[in-house]
Every structure is written in structure tokens, then in C-alpha cells.
Symmetry: C2
């Protein structure tokens, strides 16, 4: 009955935290900077949800997360007293296009693709998700992001856009995410739901999304278990 | 300077004519029907452009080509006196999701993908293009179709939607098509253009699109030559 799976990507498919930290540390080494990379990353990532919420509340026109990260990065470089050339700032912003998949992700996706249509359904920019897929080898059948809806999750239009583009009944599509709020919004639109917790997404001290907050249709430890549970 | 290639698909990437004819002939054999399959296909395909033009002129609300083909198929089955069950009509309509690539297409796309982002930019439905890619093994990085713009080529919104989603300058994207009118519309939006003639798209008697009607940026005999011309 399920024909397509849509995936949250940052945190669910890829490990953004250690990927970005590695690049920040390499930059600090290369530039001989004394930089608290963890604090820098936390402040950088903190731009994400408020920026999207401003778009969702209509307080800001459509803005990609790439543009939000770029603006915030410039502010943080000034705050931390780091001077970079424009092309270095561009390259560092694009770290969000070069994130590493979780160890189980690629093999799990390849198995799931044998039987289901696979698409991201991410807050990423469309080109950001395309570039991430090329960089990480994510075997999507298509790319659908918030940019297709021009608003961000958990707004219903995001899920409705995916449902409409895929031309399927909502119950023929399963949302896969490491975040309960995302699954709750997908379920409200009639989609099936799979929770794959990523307890290290925010590092060792993570306190959120360690367990399901509703009876999701599937709860799986990783994408390998998800594939088994979905008959692959 | 070119970073992405967008492809017309029906006729440019896949050989719809012999693919559909084979299925019609197999159906006629299976049902022991006396059916002029060429005439049937010509009348079926003839629904395509007028249906899209009605959407583009605002005379009909957004309708996928799948729905147009489905409606036309029912009319033709009645006209030709062929009785099929609903699931057989559904399956026959989906022949447009199971078309064969031209012999050079897959190898050429795989070479081009090493260097460029590849997307269809087709009048297909979004799900139709996803299913075609899965069936034929087309190695797209993403899928963009008229459904993303909710109108059909050669309306400028189709090309503008692709340019916006890819987040690139128009001149960083090359439209690849076997149809001059499509390239003319892409060029009008500032895109680069590659003409790959498909002299047998409409069979042996084809009289259209045998030669370029403008000085396109690239003219190539097939996707292998296109890859060479684009440095792959």
C-alpha cells in the first residue's frame, strides 16, 4: 500500500553536526585560529529554525536556508573576529551541501529504493538538496523540498506539495524522520509515519527526539531496520 | 560555466513511438483484435499538444498529460470498438511511464552526470517522470517538470521555474532538446541550448525538427557526441 517514502534529511539521513565541525576545525587549523568550533556551530545552526519561522509567519519573504546560513555566518565571523575572503565564506556556507550520511543511510536507502519511490522532503533549498545528493551519493528518485512549497515544515503546504507532486493518496506515502514534530505534521495530512531516532544528532548531550511521542506506524533503530520492516 | 543540463524527455531521451506501438501491438495480439495500431497511436498522441495548449491559454485548469492521455484513450477505445477493463485501461495509460531510451541516451547521460547536474524539463507529470526514470534507469539528479510550473512549454514559466529551483544563472543551464521550439523558448529566458535531432521520433516520414532552425550553442548527433562537446 505504501508506494513512496519521503525523508527528512538534516539529522535523519545525514550527520550535519560532525560534518560541519570537522570543516570548522580544519579551517581553524589552516588559519591558525583559536576558535571554539562547537560554540560557533551551535550559534550558526541556531539561525535555522527562527529564520524558517519568520518565513512561515509571513514576516519575511521566501528565503532559502542557504541564504539564512550565509547571513548568519557573516555575523558570526565578525563576532568571533575571523576574517575570510568572499570565496572562502561561499565555500564554508556550502558545507551544508557536503554532509556525511549516517553509517546505515546509504545501504538502507539502496534497499528501500528497490521497492519504493524515494524523495527527500527537507527544509533545504532545492539546489542544496541536489548538491547534497550528488556529494553523498543519496539515491533519490526525485527531489522535493520546502522550496517547492515556498514555506517550511511543519506547515501543511510542505506535505501537501509532496503529496500532490507524487500524485498519490496521502496514505501511500510514508514520512521518515528523526523528529517527532515533523511526523506529527505529516500524519495530520494523512501520511504514514516512520520514526528513526538519531540520538547523536545534537551530540552527546541531546535531550530531544530520543523516543517516539506518538504511536508512529513504524519505529526503527536505523534505515536497515526500516528496510526490513517495510519488506525490503 | 555550464553547471546543469535540462532535458526534454519525450522524443529527446526516450523513443515514445516504438515503445507505445509495441505495447499496442502486444495488446492487439493478446486480445485477437484487428487494430490499426499506427493510426490508433497517432490519434492518441494527437491529444497531447491541444490539451496542453488549452491549459496554457487558461481554457482548462491544470491537468496532467496522464489525465489527458487517459481521457483520450477511453474515447479511442470506444471509437475503435475495443473493450477493456478499468485496470487494463489504467495499465495501458501508464505505457507513457515505460518508454525505452534511445540507444545512446543512458550511456551519454551517465557521462554527462560526472560533470553536470542533470534534470528532465518535460511536459510530463511529476510522478510520470519519476516512474519513467525508475523504469528506464535515467540517472537524473532531480526531477523538474511542467507540473512544477503548472503550465506547459513553451510558456516562459516552465523555464523560469527550472532556473529558480536550480538556483543558477540562466546561462549556467543548458536546455537539451530534439525540438527547435523548445530551445527557442529556453533561449528567450537566457538559457544555453543544445539540439540533438531525433529524425525517427515520428517514424520514417518525419518532416519536422530534422535540422536546427537557429544557431544553437551545440548541435550534436546523439548524447555521446553531446558529452564530448561538453568536455566529458
Amino acid at each position: 500500500m505504501i508506494r513512496a517514502l519521503t525523508f527528512d534529511t538534516y539529522g535523519t539521513v545525514v550527520d550535519w553536526r560532525t560534518s560541519v565541525l570537522d570543516e570548522l576545525r580544519a579551517l581553524a587549523d589552516r588559519k591558525s585560529l583559536t576558535l571554539d568550533c562547537v560554540a560557533f556551530l551551535d550559534e550558526w545552526k541556531a539561525a535555522y529554525r527562527p529564520g524558517m519561522d519568520r518565513v512561515n509567519r509571513g514576516e519575511s519573504r521566501w528565503t532559502t536556508v542557504d541564504a539564512m546560513y550565509r547571513t548568519r555566518l557573516e555575523e558570526l565571523l565578525a563576532k568571533y573576529g575571523v576574517t575570510l575572503a568572499t570565496d572562502e565564506i561561499d565555500a564554508l556556507t556550502r558545507v551544508w551541501w557536503r554532509l556525511r550520511p549516517w553509517p546505515d543511510a546509504l545501504a538502507g536507502l539502496r534497499r528501500l529504493k528497490q521497492r519504493y519511490i524515494l524523495s527527500p522532503l527537507s527544509n533545504a533549498s532545492f539546489i542544496g538538496m541536489v548538491e547534497l545528493a550528488r556529494s553523498a551519493g543519496l539515491p533519490w528518485d526525485c527531489v522535493i523540498t520546502a522550496e517547492n512549497a515556498r514555506c517550511y515544515n511543519p506547515r501543511p503546504e510542505v506535505y501537501q506539495t509532496a503529496i500532490a507532486l507524487l500524485g498519490l493518496a496521502p496514505a501511500e506515502i510514508m514520512m521518515v524522520a528523526a523528529h517527532n514534530y515533523d511526523l506529527a505534521a505529516a500524519r495530520a495530512e494523512g501520511m504514514m509515519t516512520a520514526f528513526v531516532p538519531r540520538a547523536l544528532e545534537y551530540g552527546l548531550g541531546q535531550t530531544t527526539d530520543l523516543a517516539p511521542t506518538q504511536a508512529w506506524d513504524v519505529v526503527a533503530a536505523d534505515f536497515g531496520e526500516l528496510a526490513v520492516r517495510l519488506g525490503c
